[in-house]
């Protein structure tokens, strides 16, 4: 997918995340479409670009969210960096493979966000994991699999292959 295509996809996901995703909230848990985008970029491009895009997407999410500035920036930068650790080659290995990668990265991302947000409080890590981190990652992975099925498959092809 070209850079322009990714930009259009990002704008689409950003609008959905701001206005549509809040409607899908269940008991304080909602999926993170922007994390799906960061993972998509991380899988398509080199680790350098995954990290950089993760940083800017996180920064933008922080600016338009009501929590501490910098929380999503850290979580998405690390997520963008780690994506390649889960898949060295193409993402186009099927919906379950993609969902699994999103779930694994989502666990790390949600843990970082909730851990930093609850820093200095008496919230138990176990409660945090079972109440928010794991359900949130699962919800995001389910949404990612729906996105995978809905989007054309060339979106998931690595940029290097396409540009050859």
């Amino acid at each position: 997918m070209t850079n322009f295509g990714l930009l259009i996809l990002f704008l689409f996901f950003f609008v959905l995340q701001l206005f549509f995703i809040p409607l899908l909230e269940i008991k304080g848990i909602k999926p993170d479409l922007l994390l799906v985008f960061v993972i998509l970029v991380g899988l398509q491009r080199e680790r350098f670009w995954g990290t950089l895009v993760g940083f800017f997407v996180g920064l933008l999410q922080d600016l338009f969210c009501t929590g501490f500035l910098g929380v999503f920036t850290i979580a998405k930068t690390i997520s963008g960096f780690l994506v390649r650790a889960f898949s060295e080659k193409s993402v186009n290995n099927g919906v379950l493979n993609f969902g699994g990668i999103v779930f694994a990265i989502g666990l790390i991302h949600n843990f970082l966000v909730d851990w930093i947000s609850a820093w200095g409080t008496h919230v138990s890590i176990l409660i945090m994991l079972f109440r928010f981190v794991i359900p949130g990652a699962f919800y995001t992975a389910v949404l990612a699999m729906i996105v995978y099925e809905l989007l054309p498959k060339n979106v998931f092809r690595q940029y290097e292959y396409e540009s050859r």
Partner: protein, 263 residues
């Protein structure tokens, strides 16, 4: 030279990660910086305008639906009764709001909750009043049922409220009956507690909990909730007091912001 460049190219991902994480950590530490807060407030205004527009169009659609329903009411007596009941309840709610505003000794600014944001243990409400309406950061936010929270972030026309159920919310509170003081905090799985109340204190189920006034943020005597359970904490030094707040923050629609100067 070429070998060094190759080595550096391999390291660039880690160097980039280090630089970006350093920047992010600095950003977290700069959350109280006025310039950073201005930038956050500015972006908040942008999103507030968009959400307000959606809220407005949502209301217009709601009014259209209501109009259709009113037309069909003529033919449908059962539906008419349910609508009348709805109007009656709405009337009671608005009367309570008006009565509270008239009887309150505080100078109040009314606002409508136009958005909510949940993420993990964090919860925030977006209201449609800001600096232009005379609001400032850390002002208390109430409803006719009691304390809702405090203003955490402010834009020119919108503000973010940190409600009672946000994990970082704390307020000095006391039992109205005998002035026993503690710290009101949200606990795990939707419960709320009045902490640090000595074990020998006389606290009973049904006691009303109000703000103590021992802070610059919340005036004395604002109702927070009612004691629903009293026990001993694990350390046996303090009581474990469970409180049910008067306000259900996820359902609140209209709020009052208390301005600093009393009438």
């Amino acid at each position: 030279m070429l070998r060094w460049e190759t080595h550096l190219h391999q390291l660039r991902d880690y160097i980039l990660l280090f630089l970006l994480l350093s920047f992010s950590l600095i950003l977290i530490n700069l959350n109280s910086n006025p310039q950073v807060r201005w930038l956050h407030g500015f972006s908040l205004n942008l999103i507030g305008n968009l959400q307000n527009t959606m809220h407005f169009w949502g209301k217009v659609r709601q009014l259209e639906n209501e109009n259709d329903e009113l037309r069909s009411r003529v033919a449908d007596l059962t539906y008419k009764n349910s609508l009348m009941q709805e109007a009656y309840l709405s009337n009671i709610r608005l009367r309570n709001l008006l009565k509270y505003k008239k009887s309150s000794s505080f100078k109040l600014v009314t606002a409508v909750v136009i958005g909510q944001n949940y993420h993990g243990f964090s919860h925030a409400l977006l209201i449609n009043s800001g600096k232009k309406q005379g609001l400032e950061e850390k002002l208390p936010v109430l409803s006719s049922d009691g304390l809702v929270g405090k203003i955490a972030l402010i834009g020119s026309h919108y503000a973010v409220v940190q409600p009672l159920d946000d994990v970082n919310f704390r307020v000095s509170a006391m039992i109205q009956r005998n002035r026993v003081v503690g710290i009101f905090t949200p606990g795990k799985s939707g419960k709320y507690f009045l902490n640090y109340v000595p074990i020998q204190s006389n606290v009973k189920k049904g006691d009303v909990v109000v703000t103590s006034g021992y802070s610059n943020v919340f005036p004395k005597g604002i109702k927070i909730g009612v004691v629903t359970q009293v026990g001993a904490a694990k350390n046996k030094l303090f009581k474990k007091i469970e409180v049910t707040p008067g306000v259900q923050t996820e359902r609140v629609e209209n709020v009052f912001v208390v301005l600093k100067k009393a009438r």
